[in-house]
């Protein structure tokens, strides 16, 4: 009986504490050339899908049945059928695609070509590049406004964020940000644009209408020197009230109040988190930890890290699908 209790009680508790919704988490393993498939309910690794060389950026198609994976060294995007869990096609992208976004129209991808200082626009159905936009040196982070009007691209070496008109593919504006901008994210209402700076360890917030800087988020982790705190991936909550920022070598993910721009709390995760993603019910956050080869599950209702799960070498991007 006692043995039974000892076995059953923890199981029951972990079941209660774990993500309830049936979700699947996809993580790109940069050094393994795989995408790890994780069952969100049990927080276990259920499969790995072989993809092309140096996969980093990930995104789901509009119907969430297809996963696009940018092959940094393969110079293309793999199209992965999530039901079959295998590559069913490829899209051209231009050289060294690192990160990309799916336009809300569901028909186009906007891809940052790191070595060519370009943003390539890819037609998914036709599987061809239908346009390019010249941007700054080493473009990396990509974001698209919720109304689909603007695409933002950060360039690491120019320390700029470029605003591109998604219709005319014209460069609309270039905004100076802190050194080595990594990621960009629009607020759900489209009024704010957040850009993270890796070297300065800050996030700069812009008004998308006036393009003026409206604030800056500073991060501080007690006991870690300032250079060790680097801001990388950003994820916004659906209601726009909270932003989550991965702090790289500080091994932390910060929860930021978007109104006051104050850091509410820091979560200790694995080593060097690159990107973070929210579960569909917004109750869990998953970080892909590049150096420790694992992902961390954060329970946002109880403000605690539940589990870190090894997924492969060099986890980089993370998305949550059905």
């Amino acid at each position: 009986m006692q043995v039974l209790i000892v076995i059953v009680v923890p199981l029951l508790l972990s079941a209660l504490a774990g993500p309830a919704a049936a979700e699947t988490i996809y993580v790109s393993n940069e050094q393994d050339n795989t995408v790890a498939v994780i069952d969100g309910a049990t927080m276990t690794l259920s499969a790995t899908i072989d993809v092309g060389r140096r996969p980093r950026g990930l995104a789901l198609s509009a119907d969430k049945k297809i996963l696009f994976v940018a092959e940094g060294d393969g110079n293309r995007i793999d199209v992965v059928d999530l039901a079959k869990r295998q590559i069913v096609g490829q899209l051209p992208t231009g050289a060294d695609p690192e990160f990309f976004v799916v336009h809300p129209d569901g028909k186009r991808l906007f891809v940052a070509n790191e070595n060519d200082n370009l943003v390539s626009v890819v037609d998914i159905a036709a599987a061809q590049v239908i346009g390019t936009v010249d941007v700054g040196v080493e473009p990396e982070g990509m974001a698209v406004s919720p109304d689909g009007r603007y695409v933002a691209c950060t360039s690491e070496t120019s320390s700029m964020v470029h605003l591109i008109d998604a219709g005319s593919l014209e460069l609309v504006d270039n905004l100076l940000v802190d050194t080595r901008p990594r990621a960009a994210a629009f607020s759900p209402d489209g009024k704010r644009l957040w850009v993270s700076s890796e070297i300065r360890g800050t996030v700069t917030v812009f008004d998308t209408l006036t393009r003026a800087q409206t604030g800056k988020v500073q991060f501080e982790v007690q006991g870690i020197r300032r250079e060790g705190v680097q801001a990388v991936g950003i994820e916004m909550s659906r209601n726009g009230g909270t932003a989550y920022v991965a702090l790289g070598p500080a091994n932390r993910v910060a929860e930021v109040d978007t109104g006051t721009l104050a850091v509410r709390r820091l979560y200790l995760v694995g080593q060097r988190p690159w990107h973070v993603a929210l579960s569909d019910d917004q109750k869990h956050l998953i970080s892909a930890n590049g150096n420790s080869g694992d992902i961390s599950f954060i329970d946002l209702e109880n403000d605690e890290v539940l589990k870190s799960l090894p997924v492969g070498r060099g986890p980089w991007g993370v998305v949550v699908g059905p």
């Binding site: 982790v221 870690i224 200790l268 995760v269 694995g270 080593q271």
Partner: protein
């Protein structure tokens, strides 16, 4: 052995143990301050700001403060057990132990009651420490505080039995300073209380082996796992086996008829 008689003896022993512990204010305070000093100063100085690698029962990276708390709870039990066996030596020198052992009850029963009383009296402080540790963000699941109770009692009994054995071997109170040096410190430092086994293995395979064989490590791990609602059968069995061995040896040791006690009496 009549039940009523046995219960009355048990009650008397509990009462005496409780009174004695409550009257030693200094000991109570130092029992509380000791783990807090470790937690607030030692753990803070130990660089773990980037998190310790995932070690069971933890499912993710933890700060050093989180890691060290179960070890410090076990340390409280260890010190309590040793202080209690020091009191035993004192009792023996003062003659009250002789008096107790002349009661018409089996020796194992009297020593067992004394052991249990000492452990139970020491538990509230351990719980107080676990509650205070929440201030350092050491927050195990609420049910963990309940699950850890049997682990604390069993570990406390095992360490207490070890204390009984030590006190049955030491001839006089002065020897007890040696117990500190040769028992408490090695037991505490060469265990998984302060460092995870992988860290000890990095320092040297010998140290890791010693820690693995150290019953105190198993007491620490039993407490650590229980606090996070997990069960470790190996540590459970090791602690249980050590409890039985130490207790039996202590019972034999305290037997004036044939144990070490009589041998000492001859000298």
């Amino acid at each position: 052995m009549k039940r009523r008689h046995a219960l009355r003896a048990l009650n008397g022993i509990f009462h005496r143990e409780l009174l004695r512990t409550l009257r030693q204010r200094g000991r109570l305070v130092s029992a509380m301050v000791r783990p807090l000093v470790w937690l607030a100063i030692f753990a803070a100085g130990f660089r773990s700001v980037l998190g310790l690698s995932t070690t069971p029962p933890y499912q993710t990276y933890v700060l050093y403060e989180v890691y060290v708390v179960p070890g410090l709870a076990a340390m409280m039990l260890l010190f309590h057990a040793m202080a209690s066996s020091l009191a035993m030596v004192y009792d023996r020198e003062m003659g009250s132990m002789r008096l107790l052992l002349t009661a018409p009850l089996p020796r194992w029963y009297l020593l067992g009651a004394r052991l249990l009383a000492s452990v139970v009296v020491g538990l509230p402080l351990v719980y107080l420490f676990l509650v205070v540790a929440r201030y350092w963000d050491v927050r195990p699941p609420m049910l963990g505080y309940l699950a850890v109770l049997p682990a604390l009692v069993l570990s406390g009994l095992m360490l207490g039995a070890f204390g009984l054995l030590v006190s049955s071997l030491s001839t006089q109170m002065e020897n007890f300073a040696g117990v500190m040096n040769f028992v408490i410190f090695p037991m505490f430092f060469a265990s998984t209380a302060l460092y995870p086994l992988w860290r000890l293995a990095e320092a040297g395979p010998v140290l890791a082996t010693v820690a693995m064989l150290n019953p105190f490590s198993h007491a620490v791990e039993l407490i650590r796992f229980a606090l996070y609602l997990r069960f470790t059968p190996i540590s459970f069995l090791v602690v249980l086996a050590c409890l039985l061995v130490f207790f039996l040896a202590a019972v034999v040791g305290y037997d004036p008829g044939r144990g070490l006690w009589s041998r000492r009496g001859d000298q």
